[in-house]
């Protein structure tokens, strides 16, 4: 996954980030929990990095599985 074509999901709670990782991995998406990029403010220390092409699917999955998240940003 190239950094330049990635997005991150920011979360309020670390527990929600872990759940988001589980849900997206189970759906077969290529994701990784990374430290929140310094230029982005967030409530929790980890963010879920994903391929920007999967943006719609990631958002849909998180909403369908009731994972609370803060925002989605391109990095």
């Amino acid at each position: 996954m190239k950094e330049k074509n990635c997005g991150v999901v920011l979360f309020y709670s670390n527990s929600a980030a872990i759940r988001a990782e589980k849900v997206t991995l189970e759906a077969g998406l290529a994701v990784k929990l990374i430290p929140v990029p310094r230029n982005l403010s967030s409530d929790c220390g980890v963010a879920l990095r994903f391929d920007w092409d999967d943006r719609a699917e990631v958002e849909k999955l998180l909403e369908a599985t009731d994972v609370p998240f803060n925002s989605i940003c391109r990095i």
Partner: protein
Amino acid sequence: MIYLDNAATSWPKPPAVAEAMVRFLEQVGASPGRSSHRLSVEAGRIIYQVREDLAKLFNCPDPLHIVFGLNATEALNLALQGYLRPGDQVITSSMEHNSVMRPLRALEKRGVELTVLPCSGEGFLEPGLIEEAIRPNTVMIVLNHASNVIGTLLPVREAGRIARRNGLLLLVDAAQTAGAYPIDMERQNIDLLAFTGHKSLLGPQGTGGLCIGPRVDLERLEPLKRGGTGSRSKFEEQPDFLPDMCESGTLNAVGLAGLGAGVRFVLAQGLTSIRHHEARLTQRLIDGLRSIPGLTVYGSGDAHQQTATISFNIEGLLPSEVGLRLDEGYEIMCRVGLHCAPAAHKTIGTFPQGTVRFSLSLFNTEQDVEAAVDAVVKIAQEGKASAPYQSQCPLLG
């Protein structure tokens, strides 16, 4: 050695529990939910999985609404002290453990109105009494799912229906039933479920928590503790979302790793099979004890109306003397006395002397039960004449 003190702490544990704890200490070790390196994330994953496994076991609608703490006592204190305010009325039963009674008595001094419903001598609660006790300011019904003294099951399902019909919250103390008896938060209308990890969930001591249902007003729920959560770190105010708002300070991650293994063991065994085994042994134990002359066995006598916890007394002997003889003469471990539930003992008529309590787990066998009954037969036959501890005690005359 026969361990019959599972209502206090279950033992032994499935080997997977210690293995998960060793694996955590040797290979993971880090703080969950704090740093963002791989070990911290892995610790977070291990703990999140425990939330999911518990949510499955209890049919809790949201795994993120399970907050971890030390035990059921801490969870009950969070629910009671965190939710009730002066002027509120709360309804409970006369079979409660002090983990419910003591916080409620303290809240009563601060202006919470407390109604304690009387139970029968066998520990049963007539659900109609709950409905009759409801007033305009009633906020919550608090019941233990089963007595820690005599195992009698309380009518949680009926209480849930009453709570829902009247717009009240139902808080269930599942210390004695989580992992041993089916619990379904949605079907039983349980809004707050307090559990401990170290009994029938087969985890280590120092693990437990509170499952918080969707009808609980989070704005009203005050955390017991405030502090670091690894989230909203630039703010000096406590987060207002679960589980973080009620999980300040580093969790007992190694303990929760063990709890997860215990819960998965329970899920793999299946509650039906665990319950079947325990009920069969319980009935055998009840029947065996009831056949002994000079013995009083408390409770209904019907294993299907209780957990695997049985209390009894031998005529002419103090519970403490019986416990000492069981340990020294037969290597049988049990608990004697009041079991932290004075109200329950007043209800069943054993206050203040208490009872001898045998409590089984899924690891006990028919041989254990037979050996325990045989030991009690012998102790009852020997009687007071050979009770050196008791006869030497000046306080007893």
